[in-house]
């Protein structure tokens, strides 16, 4: 099963290497990984998707938590959360197909962000499934290039969640991560 895990970590040299090296050497199957700034200065926020049984996911979370640079880890899979992915897709188009592509883009509430005589660049934001299905439709016209960011996630509601960067076990517990067994 796929799990979406969010980790907060200090923005220090080598922190991404540490995390990816950990995933590699422990054999975790990471399907996607997106990292960027959080609302707290000096704290980066990473969303990653790990697929595997309960044991693997539990280990991935615990091993990450053990890292000195990591301040907090949360498995948001079973929590109400906004989960999104961004894709840029360059599709081959000509005078005949352009209108049809634009129609599909419209239906998916995606955006055309670049137009050329022989192609369009489409920006799609949505859940992985939704982006998948758009890409599948577009592939009929010829996908020249594509880039996807991987999943990012944020749990819904609960304003007291602004605890990023606070590593207390209370914060970890308050956020519902199952500790121990």
């Amino acid at each position: 099963m796929k799990h979406t895990v969010v980790a907060w970590m200090e923005d220090r040299p080598g922190v991404l290497t540490r995390v990816t090296s950990l995933f590699r050497r422990r054999g975790f199957n990471i399907e996607s990984l997106a990292v960027g700034h959080s609302e707290t200065e000096g704290i980066s926020r990473m969303t990653f998707v790990v697929s595997g049984d309960e044991r693997m996911v539990d280990q991935a979370v615990k091993q990450l938590e053990k890292q000195v640079d990591v301040t907090r880890v949360e498995d948001v899979t079973n929590q109400p959360a906004v989960v999104r992915e961004l894709a840029l897709v360059k599709v081959r188009t000509d005078a005949q197909t352009r209108a049809e592509v634009m129609q599909i883009v419209d239906i998916y509430r995606a955006q055309i962000v670049d137009v050329a005589l022989d192609s369009l660049v489409i920006q799609a934001i949505g859940t992985e499934d939704r982006v998948d299905s758009l890409v599948e439709l577009l592939s009929a016209f010829g996908v020249v290039e594509m880039v996807r960011t991987g999943r990012v996630a944020m749990t819904r509601g609960r304003a007291q969640r602004g605890l990023n960067g606070q590593p207390t076990s209370a914060a970890v517990k308050a956020n519902g991560r199952k500790m121990g067994i």
Binding site: R18, R55, Q59, E65, K66, V68, P167, S169, M179, G180
Partner: protein, 572 residues
């Protein structure tokens, strides 16, 4: 106070109460060496950096402080790698200080430049590349804090040469502003009660005591639990000594070379209480058949060890001294007479058989280990290398207190024995320290004999010379039809070798010379080497084949013989 980077290194070391460091100078670490004489720290010049790391480990194990090793950039630092990996696996607090090329050369493949933080990333608890003097005070203070806090481990600080030379207004950082420095987890109250309920209701309980017991100083809590609830105790290799083996409920080491009774007890128990251990494959054997009927209680400080190999019924997180004390409040006095009688029955064919089965005139390693214990009355620190002799020590020496055995457990590092013993001897002056090593492991780090002499380190070395890489040979005998590929091993004349270094030595070839050799070595004030020319193809029994369930053991061959063929009663 204005301090250079080099001075900050030493200021921090001194503040940690560390009076001995182990190292090897070189170009990129020269500024740090240049600052050293002004500080009250003894530097032991090793002959190879691997030994510096192992010495720091041995020193850390006996002092309870953080061991320090120092090396230069490039090859100096890469030579530390084995020791760091060893410390990582066995949770030994050490800090490695390495010089790095100057910041303007970083990334240019400069002379003796290696990406040391990259190389050591997976085998350190944490590491630093310091490229700015502003970062050094925190890096140094944090390094020691991280090394000794929670589950201990190795930390490496790689310092660019120009940073060692640079100056800053230095104040020791009393508080560390790192949000990710996790504290030891507090035990959940309901977990403690759940654990106690399982223990109280158990009919066939067994405890497995690991390294965490002695690291957490929880020996008396363990003993209290054992005696009140009447539970037999199996130890892991690194857990030996946390429960005195003279105690009727102590069963000794379990696992791959555990006594048969220990493994049967684990397989048949209904409640398994694992304390400060991590279910290493050498302990569990085949995992899906490990303790098949048991509810497992796991007392553990590192949450990532919980459920990694064995999923417990109850996990009690935290320092085991605290969690055991909390559990004890709910433990009822109990009696498991029937279960203990069953175990006693399994114990009928024990380690004694090996010694009793030996011909009186042949020198066998188990006999040597037994004599080591007799000759010192156990008042000794034994530091072993890795292999057959290590298992015989675990089986035939009667461990009664923690710290009697220092050994490389998780990594199985050959070459560990002699340098770690040197570190242990320096950390505990006046105490007898024996390095018990095989002919293979000894030859991996024997260059340190010169260090022993130069720094007058009074370590005793016992070489169990069987002319083979014995443990590998044993596997070849059992699993590769005695095809001894790459295992027969030539040794130099060890007495001449010792003589070349000016170390007195003896050679022992028969059982009746063993006691006297130990006596002479122990009475000698200073280093001493004894070569035990033992019978070549002796095996460690019992043995669980790799991948087998621990209940399935290759047992000792032949019936017990109480007396040798010549009718002489063995003197032990």
């Amino acid at each position: 106070m204005e301090r250079t980077g080099a001075q900050i290194v030493w200021e921090t070391i001194v503040r940690e109460g560390i009076d001995t460091v182990f190292g090897y100078p070189g170009g990129a670490i020269l500024p740090t060496y240049d600052a050293m004489p002004a500080y009250p720290v003894r530097h032991i010049l090793v002959r190879h950096e691997q030994a510096a790391a192992h010495m720091a480990e041995g020193w850390a194990r006996v002092t309870g402080k953080v061991g320090v090793c120092i090396a230069t950039s490039g090859p100096g630092a890469t030579n530390l790698v084995t020791g760091l990996a060893n410390a990582m696996m066995d949770s030994i607090p050490i800090v490695a200080i390495t010089g790095q090329v100057a910041t303007n050369l970083l990334g240019n493949d400069a002379f003796q430049e290696t990406d040391v933080t990259g190389v050591t990333l997976p085998i350190t608890k944490y590491n630093y590349l310091v490229t700015d003097i502003k970062d050094l005070p925190e890096a140094m203070a944090e390094a020691f804090y991280i090394a000794r806090t929670g589950r201990p481990g190795p930390v490496l600080v790689d310092i660019c040469k120009d940073v060692q030379n640079a100056s800053i207004d230095w104040v020791y950082p009393e508080t560390l502003h790192r949000p990710g420095l996790h504290k030891a987890p507090r035990p959940e109250p309901n977990a403690v009660v759940a654990a106690a309920d399982l223990i109280n209701a158990a009919r066939r309980p067994v405890i497995i005591a690991g390294h965490g017991v002695s690291m957490g100083h929880a020996e008396s809590e363990l003993l209290e639990l054992v005696e009140r609830a009447n539970i037999p105790v199996v130890s892991t290799l690194l857990g030996l000594g946390s429960m005195p083996e003279t105690h009727p409920l102590a069963m000794g080491m379990g696992g791959m070379h555990g006594e048969a009774a220990t493994n049967h007890a684990i397989q048949e128990c209904d409640v398994l209480i694992a304390i400060g251990m991590r279910f290493d494959d050498r302990v569990t054997g085949r995992l899906d058949q490990f303790a098949p009927n048991a509810k497992v209680i796991h007392y553990e400080m590192d949450p990532s060890e919980v459920g990694k190999n064995v999923k417990p019924t109850v996990a009690v997180l935290g320092d085991c001294r605290v969690t055991l004390a909390a559990t004890l409040q709910h433990i009822q006095p109990n009696n498991h007479a029937e279960w203990l009688a069953t175990i006693q029955n399994w114990q009928s064919t024990t380690r004694e058989v090996d010694i009793a089965n030996a011909e009186v005139d042949e020198l066998i390693p188990p006999f040597v280990m037994r004599q080591l214990w007799h000759s010192t009355k156990g008042n000794v620190t034994v530091v072993t290398d890795v292999g057959q002799h290590q298992m015989w020590e675990a089986q035939y020496f009667t461990h009664t207190k923690p710290g009697q055995l220092i050994t490389s457990g998780g990594l199985g590092t050959m070459g560990f024995g002699v340098p770690a013993a040197m570190g242990a001897a320096l950390g505990n002056p006046g105490h007898v320290v024996w390095a018990i090593v095989g002919d293979g492991g000894f030859q991996q780090t024997l260059q340190e004999l010169a260090t022993i002499v130069q720094d007058k380190i009074p370590v005793k070395i016992g070489i169990i010379n069987n002319g083979f890489l014995g443990m590998v040979r044993q596997w070849q005998q059992f699993f590769y039809e005695k095809r001894y590929a790459g295992t027969p091993m030539l040794s130099p004349d060890y007495m001449k070798l010792a003589d070349a270094y000016g170390i007195p030595s003896l050679r022992v070839t028969t059982n009746d010379q063993v006691a006297d050799a130990f006596r002479q070595a122990n009475e000698h004030d200073g280093p001493f080497l004894v070569e035990f020319r033992v019978k070549e193809e002796v095996n460690v029994y019992p043995m669980v084949a790799p991948g087998a369930a621990i209940g399935q053991m290759i047992r000792r061959p032949g019936p017990a013989v109480v007396q040798g063929p010549s009718g002489v009663q063995p003197s032990w």
